[in-house]
């Protein structure tokens, strides 16, 4: 997994609460068996005025000029700003893949759906919980001065705005290390193979029916 480094990026303000993962990446794009290529359909229903005709190849879609990500200023945005409960709903990791594939590295919101939050860290993508008051300030700044930039420093757990405001954030130590070091979760767990086998042996004595073959 890629390593998360300190960076400065443009904030794209998406002033909506309860943005669900169906909205982030609609179901018609979940049929892919790959992890890549979802960025062009990120927020598809909000981003395009027309339906995607899957029977035709390479058709130009009609962008919705009012949608934030369609403004040229935000084509290179790396930080998404949203309201409460971002990423609620379905467990589809495709939501994180789509945000990442578009070019986002982090999302700032007062709260997140649990599964989305957990999925993010498996993909080098950082969801940051800020106070609603701080989110208000960032919406205000990014709406009054479009292209507003902030620096995200994960190691020291703070965000610094281009007008020198500083917001601290909390994050579990384990999740932080995982992003900073870009660790392979499965390899780490497999280091505990002996403990897993021991657990299985003890459990099989106590609850043998759980070890019956399907």
């Amino acid at each position: 997994m890629k390593v998360f480094k300190t960076f400065t990026g443009i904030i794209a303000p998406l002033d909506r609460s309860n943005v669900d993962t169906d909205t982030i990446i609609p179901k018609e794009y979940l049929k892919s068996i790959k992890r890549t290529g979802f960025g062009k359909n990120l927020f598809d229903a909000w981003r395009y005025l027309d339906n995607n005709d899957f029977k035709k190849q390479n058709v130009e879609r009609k962008p919705n000029p009012n949608f934030v990500l369609n403004k040229s200023l935000y084509h290179d945005a790396e930080i998404l700003l949203a309201r409460e409960n971002f990423g609620c709903g379905s467990s589809r990791e495709h939501a994180v893949w789509a945000l990442s594939d578009f070019g986002f590295k982090a999302v700032l919101a007062p709260s997140f759906g649990d599964i989305f939050y957990s999925n993010s860290f498996k993909n080098g993508f950082l969801p940051i919980r800020l106070q609603p008051r701080e989110i208000d300030i960032l919406f205000n700044s990014s709406q009054t001065s479009p292209g507003f930039k902030v620096t995200i420093n994960l190691e020291r757990q703070f965000i610094e705005t281009q007008d020198n405001k500083e917001f601290k954030f909390k994050i579990d130590a384990g999740l932080k290390t995982r992003l900073l070091e870009g660790l392979d979760d499965i390899a780490l767990t497999l280091k505990h193979s002996d403990a897993i086998r021991r657990y299985e042996m003890n459990r099989a004595k106590l609850v043998p029916w759980l070890f019956k073959e399907i």
Partner: protein
């Protein structure tokens, strides 16, 4: 002094890490076609093999057509289904084929087959895995990276949730179902009300509900923000599990005794307790684009201006625009185009019985373009046919389909067209959930069935 969640957690800890997380053993892994392909690919790329092949069970459900199943017209859906086939064959994982009578929605077939059992940890790359919590099992949805992690290690690294007790007491009134109970809870606590908590549903009402009703409630825990919804084991649980194909057969009494301990201790401590007076619950219908936007069928569509919270007010405005509704409207003024009875929330035999009892001897309104019933599994379908329910639906003008997720999320051809409005027994009324531009109203099976006959929502208590 432990809650049921504490007990299930403690029983599955392989290793406690210093940072407050733990390595948790997973007893059962359920797999479907949409969230598994990339996980199998990841395994292959890293030259890893499944840790324990015989505890996985796979079934195609999201993409499968619900009629004319012999041909899958969408080539991308077809590839995804074939990829699941290939991955299961390559690894030796048991899979129910689409035409196998045991095929169905993954959260329906787990309990139905006895593949989901009390006391287990159960995961699946699908947020409605919480359904399994009705059995007194720790079931929760995971993303694809975790699907790969479970395949490779039979474990997950997790941080323990806090404990929430939702105690539902006094009696529900006539016409009220499990769906109304969970919708009204979501309306009360909101879609993020239980984020970070494992919910245990308890109280007299839960005790008197059938297993299927309990599954409906646990299923929608995720719509209240919680990955986990639990119900303690009791006689209802044991009677349900006994005799199921994968349920233990030897020493049943010993096993049953063991499972009866799967309940919270009397003095267990919950971080949050919510009391619900069930006698006050009325038939629920969602009006907006989030499951928390739900009201009694008697109420009028709310006015955003009456909400003091600015963010909420904007949310209400957006929802009204998308749903093409105006404050003050009544539900019987809102014309419905399609009716969908199905999904992992409400597609079991009792749901179909409820719906059939409403439509028996009546005809689907000519204003309804399509009314369809999609049973949760092939076995539910067969049972409904044996009981004469299928005939009741067909005679009144419903389409009687083959099992799958269908129009709950429309990954198969069952979708709403833009602007169409649907009364649905499913679980999510998000924008575009049932088809781009489609509008969803969630309700119970009997309320939804009544829409098919009336052409609009009615109070089931007066129907």
């Amino acid at each position: 002094m432990k809650t049921l969640y504490d007990k299930l957690w403690d029983d599955h800890v392989v290793h406690d890490f210093d940072d407050g997380t733990a390595l948790i053993y997973i007893d059962r892994h359920l797999i479907h076609e949409v969230t598994s392909a990339q996980a199998f690919e990841g395994l292959k790329l890293a030259s890893r093999k499944p840790w324990r092949v015989d505890t996985n069970l796979a079934v195609p459900d999201h993409n499968v057509p619900t009629k004319n199943r012999e041909v899958i017209e969408d080539p991308i859906s077809k590839l995804q289904l074939e990829t699941l086939d290939k991955n299961c064959k390559d690894t030796g994982i048991t899979k129910f084929e689409m035409l196998d009578p045991r095929q169905g929605i993954v959260h329906v077939i787990g309990p139905e087959q006895g593949a989901s059992l009390p006391g287990m940890t159960i995961v699946c790359g699908d947020s409605h895995t919480s359904t399994n919590g009705a059995l007194g099992a720790l079931g929760f949805g995971i993303g694809t990276s975790d699907v790969e992690h479970v395949l490779a290690t039979q474990c997950l690294v997790l941080k323990k949730d806090k404990n929430m007790l939702i105690s539902i007491n006094r009696e529900i009134t006539k016409g009220i179902s499990a769906k109304d109970i969970i919708l009204s809870i979501i309306g009360e606590i909101g879609t993020a009300g239980a984020t970070g908590y494992a919910i245990e549903f308890a109280g007299d009402v839960i005790r008197s509900l059938s297993m299927e009703g309990r599954m409906t409630i646990c299923n929608m825990s995720i719509e209240a923000g919680s990955r986990v919804g639990l119900v303690a084991v009791d006689k209802t649980t044991l009677d349900y599990v006994e005799g199921r194909p994968y349920a233990p057969k030897d020493n049943w009494e010993q096993v049953a005794n063991f499972w009866q301990e799967l309940k919270s201790d009397d003095d267990a401590n919950f971080d949050k307790v919510i009391e619900i007076d069930a006698s006050k619950i009325e038939p629920q219908v969602t009006w907006g684009t989030s499951p928390e936007m739900v009201i009694s069928v008697k109420d009028t569509i709310p006015d955003p201006l009456e909400t003091s919270d600015v963010v909420k007010r904007e949310g209400y405005k957006n929802a009204l625009t998308y749903m093409n509704l105006k404050p003050g409207m009544k539900f019987n003024q809102i014309k419905i185009d399609k009716v969908f009875i199905g999904s992992c929330t409400n597609s079991r035999i009792e749901d179909l019985r409820d719906a059939a009892s409403i439509v028996k001897g009546k005809k689907v309104s000519k204003d309804i373009k399509l009314a369809m019933v999609v049973p949760g599994s092939g076995l539910v379908k067969r049972q409904a046919e044996d009981e004469g329910l299928a005939k009741i639906f067909i005679d009144s003008g419903f389409e009687w389909r083959d099992p799958g997720c269908s129009m709950c999320l429309g990954m198969n051809p069952d979708q709403l067209q833009s602007g169409e409005r649907c009364a649905s027994t499913s679980n999510r009324n998000f924008e575009g959930r049932q088809g781009r531009g489609g509008r969803t109203h969630l309700a119970s099976p009997s309320m939804t069935a009544a829409v098919a006959i009336a052409g609009h929502f009615v109070d089931i208590r007066d129907f």
